[in-house]
Subunit: 264 residues, 4 copies
């Protein structure tokens, strides 16, 4: 081969296989989305169209990668969870992360026009970065997801109150910010209710809880030879999008196969 | 904070900062592009529209990331080279790779309709995976790029001959494959010339050499305080797309700042 | 500082912290011990003095590092297991591995004269290499230790039979090797019993099972503030050396705190 | 094999091969040597016996590993430099580091009695930890060594002055510390000269510069087949211990093969 004398450069590639028998979580985040939400006039505090587009892109990722068992999204971020015994791409971090980020981005850009028919995309286009993290135990994984969902709640309560003060209360951004400085949850709930008649509990679940994606139907126990078949079947299973609590036990007790770490 | 008891999960994130003072190369590859080229009827052996779209997406990546000094693309792959002293994202591998892959994908999907007006995209959408590799010396970096460009040449000569045998010679795919088995470059050149009157040397440079992207104009030496300004200026510099030889010395001798590893 | 302009070189150090909440196993192996056993005339198939010296060095390592919960040794290798929640040296791999290997080596060399009074050490001195591996689950850890103990058994049965054939049967090394080629355990047991009157079951446990080291006494549940005290106390606890089975459940059921992953 | 069902645990070992074409530096440091110097009554500010023992252990390491091109030691630390094109142990970090640390420790403990005949070792024994760092360019490597040698100078000037104040000036440790707080080099030189008649320049080079170890004689250019022979020859070459300046150009200009990165 004419290029054989250059092939030694392959030896500079360093392996990045992730530790076996751990849950791999890939989280992606929108790059510069503060600017982007301003550019395309996203509704405040939440733009339902944008969340639907995020979810649509995430569903496409789960459809593409049957080894994913769960995904959780809020705001401009999404976390994807692989089965604990997943061996996709020999668990190479860069391959797993880029495949998810690229598939997500492709679907986000492709789906934009349908969700934002009046504000076509212009350069620079939306993009996402991502990373992979391993969690050894079911508790670690649940704590990770609780962390993201608690974050969703805290931010959403803040944002809902902030934008009520600004949009309905007529306050200047800085004044609203100052007013909220040092308040706890109860204070914000009271501001919403007393000043604006908003009962935070009645806010849409998608805003308060974010979105949980998983496959419909319990996988069955099966032999090695059945697994590839099952993998394909899983790829075709309906993907459910719900806005449910992940912090308590209920979700997990009903779907024990998620934490069991077995793909089938 | 309500989520503080979960925050320990951040300690599971493992750093992936790449070794300083080395050239970082991020290469991305189309996922399942054999299927994709069939699905959208790409012309054989090369589809100029597809290559133009690849280059357009790569130009957008270089515009987005002024720390990139060079890019090289062929077929469904693209390699992006960062300055040796680049400190973008603290040189975190996953951040660098996903930013490039996501930006590239966004522009590829967004630009599709213009380059393929008659074959609109349908699911599953095109996507790319990627990885980062460090090269310590200018020689290593040049050998990497020579490896990719030699690969381009070898594949293109093969494909040009193969598709001439099939499309012009009327051979069955397998028969053509068999005929080419064991042949060297000279044999293929002869087949092309004697049977089909094709002088391989006259084939388009973009097919034979691939595409080289770099910024127009030599960066000037500057002080620390000037560097951020320069970085912005660099972001605005025109990006040149050429189909030139990277294996010989000429390209490099004319642009010594590329291998010098200094961003400004 | 006069050396401040050079200090940037510290940025080239790359972090190697091991994933939290996993069992860290550090295994060390004798370097070139085949040569060494010949040089110092180790007894065949096992030299009790050498094994006692290995165990003595391992006890010193466990005394030095209270975060170690278990150690297993056989032949010229030793595996050390850290508590799952261990945070010693921020779990930096190189620090953990070199500390163990250095402490082990120091004690091996220091203790040599007492165990081998007639064959003093000469250059090159005995040395060991080592590596760290993470095991996420108790099952993975037990399987690792079962792997080493099964390896001990297999090698010891082979060596016992081989050296019986050579030393008692008068066979040439190669002839003995050939005779054992393709035999299973039952065959070797039969050779030992029929030809040499050796009942393998009656061989010393230290040869058949290797050596298991752990601290005497069950650690008690305690508060955060008690933990440092406990760590010191642990450091003073007597270290037990036993030659017991690790493959079955019995050892583990009696000492549940080992797999619980809690240091205290 | 009886242990085959456990062998999957090997897949948990993660590769740690270091980037090719970079200088690998392994630095080891004494563990808890402040305590140790007190325990064995090391002379202040420098104990020549201890430094000689360090150098002896380092010579043994260089003899054991012909791929080492240079070593630099001061106080209780030693840095070992591998040729840039070294492929020993496939450049696995843990293997390289533990081999050096173990060999060094073995020789330190073994040689103790000769250098400290009046103070025999007792538990806990001296031990060392270590780590590997890659330096891509000759400049980076030289800056690393300059950093260590400048550190040696700064510490030695401080310590020489401090112990003069304490041992000759009769000051209390704290008073001496306070007196030196905020002083620059010129101040310390003056204290030494005016109060104690000590000209720092006349202090022994081993204290001021540390110790540089390298092989005697320039390696010759050779063919692939000669390299293994040469490697052995190198192993037998005399190792020189000098106390010379590494910060200036002179040392390097006379021995260009060190930075050339070629083992032979």
């Amino acid at each position: 081969m004419a290029n054989s004398k250059y092939e030694y450069v392959r030896s500079f590639e360093q392996p990045d296989n992730l530790l076996p028998n751990t849950f791999i979580v890939v989280r992606l985040d929108g790059r510069g989305f503060t600017k982007l939400t301003a550019k395309y006039n996203f509704e405040k505090p939440n733009d339902r169209r944008a969340l639907d587009l995020m979810n649509e892109a995430a569903v496409a990722v789960m459809r593409d990668l049957p080894d994913l068992v769960l995904a959780y999204g809020q705001s401009d971020e999404f976390s994807f969870v692989f089965y604990k015994d997943c061996t996709l791409f020999e668990r190479r971090a860069s391959k797993l992360v880029t495949t998810i980020v690229s598939t997500f981005t492709a679907n986000y850009v492709f789906g934009w026009a349908q969700h934002f028919p009046d504000t076509p995309l212009t350069a620079p286009l939306p993009s996402f970065d991502g990373r992979a993290v391993c969690y050894p135990s079911p508790t670690n994984l649940r704590d990770y997801l609780s962390w993201r969902q608690a974050d969703c709640h805290i931010n959403n309560l803040y944002n809902t109150t902030f934008w009520a003060l600004v949009l309905k209360g007529g306050l200047d951004n800085r004044v609203a910010e100052k007013e909220l400085s040092g308040t706890v949850s109860a204070d914000k709930n009271e501001i919403l209710f007393k000043r604006f008649g908003i009962n935070y509990n009645n806010e849409p679940e998608i805003f308060k809880k974010g979105s949980v994606l998983y496959r419909d139907g319990r996988p069955v126990q099966m032999s090695k030879t059945q697994q590839e078949k099952e993998r394909k079947k899983r790829g075709k299973a309906k993907i459910v999008v719900e806005h449910v609590d992940l912090i308590g036990d209920s979700f997990w007790e009903r779907r024990p196969w998620i934490l069991s770490g077995r793909a089938g």
